[in-house]
Symmetry: C2
Subunit: 483 residues, 2 copies
Amino acid sequence: MGAGQVSVDSINPKVLKCQYAVRGEIVAHAQRLQQELKANPGSLPFDEILYCNIGNPQSLGQQPITFFREVLALCDYPSLLDKDKTRHLFSSDSISRAQQILDQIPGRATGAYSHSQGIKGLRDTVAAGITARDGFPCNSDDIYLTNGASPAVHMMMELLLSSEKDGILCPIPQYPLYSASITLHGGTLVPYYLNEASCWELEMSELKRQTEEARSKGIKVKALVVINPGNPTGQVLSEENQKDIVEFCIEEGLVLIADEVYQEDVYVDNKKFNSFKKISRSMGYGEEDIALVSLQSISKGYYGECGKRGGYMEVTGFSSSVKEQIYKIASVNLCSNISGQILSSLVMSPPKVGDASFDSYRAERDGILSSLARRAKMLEEAFNSLEGFSCNKVEGAMYLFPRINLPRRAIQAAQAENSVPDVFYARRLLEAAGIVVVPGSGFGQVPGTWHIRCTILPQENKIPMVISKLTEFHKAFMTEFRE
Amino acid sequence: MGAGQVSVDSINPKVLKCQYAVRGEIVAHAQRLQQELKANPGSLPFDEILYCNIGNPQSLGQQPITFFREVLALCDYPSLLDKDKTRHLFSSDSISRAQQILDQIPGRATGAYSHSQGIKGLRDTVAAGITARDGFPCNSDDIYLTNGASPAVHMMMELLLSSEKDGILCPIPQYPLYSASITLHGGTLVPYYLNEASCWELEMSELKRQTEEARSKGIKVKALVVINPGNPTGQVLSEENQKDIVEFCIEEGLVLIADEVYQEDVYVDNKKFNSFKKISRSMGYGEEDIALVSLQSISKGYYGECGKRGGYMEVTGFSSSVKEQIYKIASVNLCSNISGQILSSLVMSPPKVGDASFDSYRAERDGILSSLARRAKMLEEAFNSLEGFSCNKVEGAMYLFPRINLPRRAIQAAQAENSVPDVFYARRLLEAAGIVVVPGSGFGQVPGTWHIRCTILPQENKIPMVISKLTEFHKAFMTEFRE
């Protein structure tokens, strides 16, 4: 190390401590193998890397919704709207929608910083979409348009956490954004375990027990994170369960942070998505009763616009003095990107019956969602057919989180190379079959159990191939390590 | 406050402490007045609010560069590229550039999360642009594409600051993003004062004095922030001065954080922009000698694409183990938005001589930059003609930072209403003339001196009106408070 260089010993220890498995060592290894494949085709036992590690649908071939992209292109280059030929290239409702959006932007300037919470007219559209979804009013002053859900989570953690004595209740398994953000902001993650035996149920007794245990250690528990539909676990909460959670937050004085980014991704007939805002309002609770933050993202749903970085948080039940502080944090980053803001308004207000694009929009949306449901079912059945695997039903979201009962000899082999057993399994799977999954240890799991997270996102015609490669690998693995 | 609500006493005190004047109380007041004007036209002594508070050119009518927006629109809606009519609506080089960019994106998916540092092909383009600018090589592995410069600053502060014992040298006056970010990350801002009497010169003696003083208080000084061209002060550093700064950082073992977002905005013939990377390499210093972070943004320059949120940081001279940590922080937010990434590549690689768009691109660029230079001069002369004002030359960037020698009675009047004198002046200016400026106290200033920051961004045909309103207000103000 040179004289002018910074060493890891001198940097922020919270950064060192932070972990983010979704882009962790297995993914880095996969990227190296991909380069190897490119440099020396045929050198590996597979000819492509199948990324099942991250909810990134368009990277695997999912097409964006045409209407959304038409509107974006017109807003990017508004002088198209003055030209006759544009009518031959764009749908009539994308043209009128782009006009309407540009009229909502001061000076029609899509290249200007907006209000720190996002463009007022777009927030109005988002608020109207939430009102229509829930049947309860939403105020656009409560909406903060963000560069995806991640910055929203960071903002809330920055607001709520002062020291390691401040705790946030998070499900285990959890999406590692939460653990990473809590670590970076110096707080304490208070885990509550979802019950795998009853399809990853969120049990109130567990929530209470963990809250009390944390308090007995001097932790001030400030908020409860609920991910619904679940990531990585895929369960959809029942209305009854949601009501109990709302009551719990009110009784315990907790902020309820509802990660609702998979609200469009429900694949079973006996469950439906309900926002926590709708549930709490339907119970008669208002702003004075419960502090609630609802997160939505344009990266998920049927839209899958991950690269556009958009989303919103709806913040209700905070005092005006605290809201001023949230506004200030938002303003330090000036604003979120306008394309993401526009897309956030579009996903909350897609084409309606009678609009020129409605039929094609509906066909695209339903095609994606019904295919995701079929893929989830195929992969779930495949995992359940493999020796030692058991996989809960994927009711929603984009992931399977099967449990694998690893042979004792595989666990010993992992330990012999200083590896965590599920990381060992994931690395072997990658090296033999080119399939990238995330080890369950990146999300948290009951000690002594092992899982992997696998997305349902490879294109449908590739699923049989994924299953056959997985099956072949797993049989060989079990043959190698079975006792 | 209801039972479920969070109080300001229970939130992170660092958030409470953080200040961000660029979107502070004067701006909030302006937004209220704007609503008042809309609701009751004619109720105020002006009929429009003139926002001179923030470097947001397109909000004031600056048009985006056509070529950039053509490419963006094609990348957002790539099926345009398959249609014949597109050739009649888009320039031929925007079509070929969009093709080229899409070919660089895995799966041509502009809606997919990218590599955490940004799309490799776009980083290659940025790196080639830096290499061409500096005459020294740039490696695309050192480039992190970001949602503007703000997140880059936060990332570096998060990396470097562990406690209030860690200090960052910042110019005073400074852009308040730095003070806000240092406060939010729990570190200490170590101020060094620019010398107003010699056109905001950065004096080495002052740097040394402040560094020693901070160290004598037990502060570990970790980095030096230099903003060049200066914000809010508008000076452009001389090559000699830059060399001294590089030597200083090497001697003192400091990371040099070079805020170079105004690199295209230089308005005087006797100064030119030199990156600190170029300066240090031309002195023979390499990666092993100095840790250097260079920030660039698509929000500034002649492009002014604030709302698109794009930019990059070039990180050199860090050990590979520290780079892994920077990568990890970047990966927790997954990636910056792809439209911003594409624009970052475009501003570092605009049309070249011979390209179909070159002439129109050059005309647009030169039109903006020469007009900015004229506006800077007109406003500078106007301020210098006003009683009590003195204003340094605007060599670069987008702001004037004139000093105002406030009458004693004005200071007393401010104190009588518990206001800071420059805030008092700015509020009076807003209420009388509708002109929004930022009080100097938001940037820091030598105690007992008062300033305002005023952008040079109102459209050129409005500048005479801004000047006449300002002059009229100021004369009345002085008449009211002159002793």
